[in-house]
Amino acid sequence: MAEATWQLTEELDPTSEVMSLQMGPSHPATHGTIKFNLKLDGEKILNCDVEIGYLHRGFEKMCEQRTWNHVVPYTDRLNYASPLINNVAFALAAEKLLELQVPDRCQYIRMIMSEVSRITDHLTCLGMSATEAGAISVGFYMLEARETLYDLVTAVTGARLTVSYDRVGGVTQDLPEGFADQVRRAFTAIRQILADCDKLLSKNRIFIERMSGIGVMSKEDAISYGVTGPLLRASGVAYDVRKAQPYLFYDRMDFDVPTGTQGDNYDRFTVRFEELRQSMRIIEQALTQLPPGPVRVDDPHITLPQKKDVYGNIEGLMNHFKLVIEGVKIPRGEVYLSVEGANGELGFYLVSDGSGRPYRVRVRPPCFFGMAALGHMLKGYLISDIITTFGMINMIGGECDR
């Protein structure tokens, strides 16, 4: 290490030793491959150096070798707790480069599926964190709630996790029949489960003492570290990309942005918990407003033609061939577009050189910034606080390490 980041202070017993402890990279209490190089005084953390990169797969390099639509399955594997939001963000950025307006129904479907994904992501984060803090039944309840949503996702996309639902210019298929009813049934179940979890946790002294006043981060530090999403809102800044720079039709939706006051783990938990309810509100409003119509643009240079044209006439066959082999031709240019991911601002910076392949794909992974701030958040707390604080950052290896 280039700098000595811990010093012996007067409060330390001069006879005591500073212990170095390496926690991870494969530790049973951290969900995700991550290493903490700790300097400890007893149980107190003097310094925590976080090492990431164990799940680096060269996402950005891979994207440069493929056509634009081939990138979509890779984005599934960024934040695999909310793959649909990644799909939407990439498709929106590519469409902005094309200056393409996709049909309204497609925008609404994207918004609904993004919010479904946000709920699954938050349920994963909250359930796992509660489990790690000892409330294991809450973890099971939340996984049960998540399962009802995965059923929805499966009905729409055909897969639980590797959904690849969006394309440049639209989505792969329309919502299935009876989708609204299925959502209604799922939400009734989820609301019941959330009420149960609320009862289990909100007056639970063990849980509150594990979470409250732990991992505190001030507003200024949070912004300086580039932390966004629930972590920033828990610190008291009502910054939400859906409100600040509305994309899709979020400007037509009525929802609240919950904020915290302390900036501790308990606030992070409650902010996420409240966002579950807000996401359900958005989905219910979007379902009532959902207009009929096509779900992708009808442009042979961008979306695949109908199968009957591919097999029935030469133009259809040519268009299909050109799109599959050469890909969508996106004009030269660059764009940065961000959406509100489940963990914060998820940004795509795309550079196109006019060929069918991206010249550069850069992802702004929200949890990368949370991980950068983790060492700062943990200073002065105990070893056991690592687990809850790390859980609340909700680091997803696929996204953080790319």
């Binding site: 950005e60 902005k96 300086s224 570290y225 580039g226 764009v335 940065y336 991980m371 950068a372 701030a373």
Partner: protein, 169 residues
């Protein structure tokens, strides 16, 4: 969201330091020289009419075969005023160094480490410029366009799982 005239305001606040500016797809971009980088970025962060308190992203693009080869790209965001700006610095390959902004934004620390790791661009006065995603033994910088996609640098010898499923004793 893109406030009209943001570029004009930046040019007025940093006279003669903006070498190029453009606006595409609602993203406003200014290009600055490396020597002015700290001055301009400090102004953008501290001047209340800009107040870019969030460094949303810091990355680089390798324009292999062009001169200067690299572009270091900053995406700034103001949480209070809700506007965005992209700032670019072009650096040549033989002198790929830019001043570190980790004293202005704490998020720059890890972001600059990543750009160093992936592109081999150095950041002067960075407190701790180590690799972040790759391991220390790794040679080269994978996101450079002249780094072959197929090159492998395994730390332990790779085995053929079909023909040689178990290690030799």
């Amino acid at each position: 969201m893109a406030e009209t005239g943001l570029i004009a305001k930046v040019e007025a606040a940093c006279p003669g330091k903006i070498t190029e500016s453009s606006s595409q797809h609602g993203n406003e971009t200014v290009v600055i020289n490396r020597d002015d980088a700290l001055d301009v970025l400090t102004t953008l962060k501290d001047d209340p009419q800009f107040a870019f308190n969030l460094l949303a992203d810091l990355t680089a693009v390798d324009f292999f075969g062009q001169e200067p080869r690299f572009e270091v790209v900053y995406h700034l965001q103001s949480v209070g005023l809700n506007h965005r700006l992209r700032v670019k610095i072009r650096v040549p390959e033989d002198e790929a160094t830019v001043p570190s902004v980790s004293s202005l934004w704490k998020s720059a620390n890890w972001l600059e480490r990543e750009v160093w790791d992936m592109f081999g661009i150095r950041f002067a006065d960075h407190p701790d410029l180590r690799r972040i995603l790759m391991y220390e033994e790794f040679r080269g910088h994978p996101l450079r366009k002249d780094y072959p996609v197929q090159r492998r640098q395994p730390l332990v010898e790779e085995r053929d799982p079909v023909n040689d499923p178990w290690p030799k004793r």
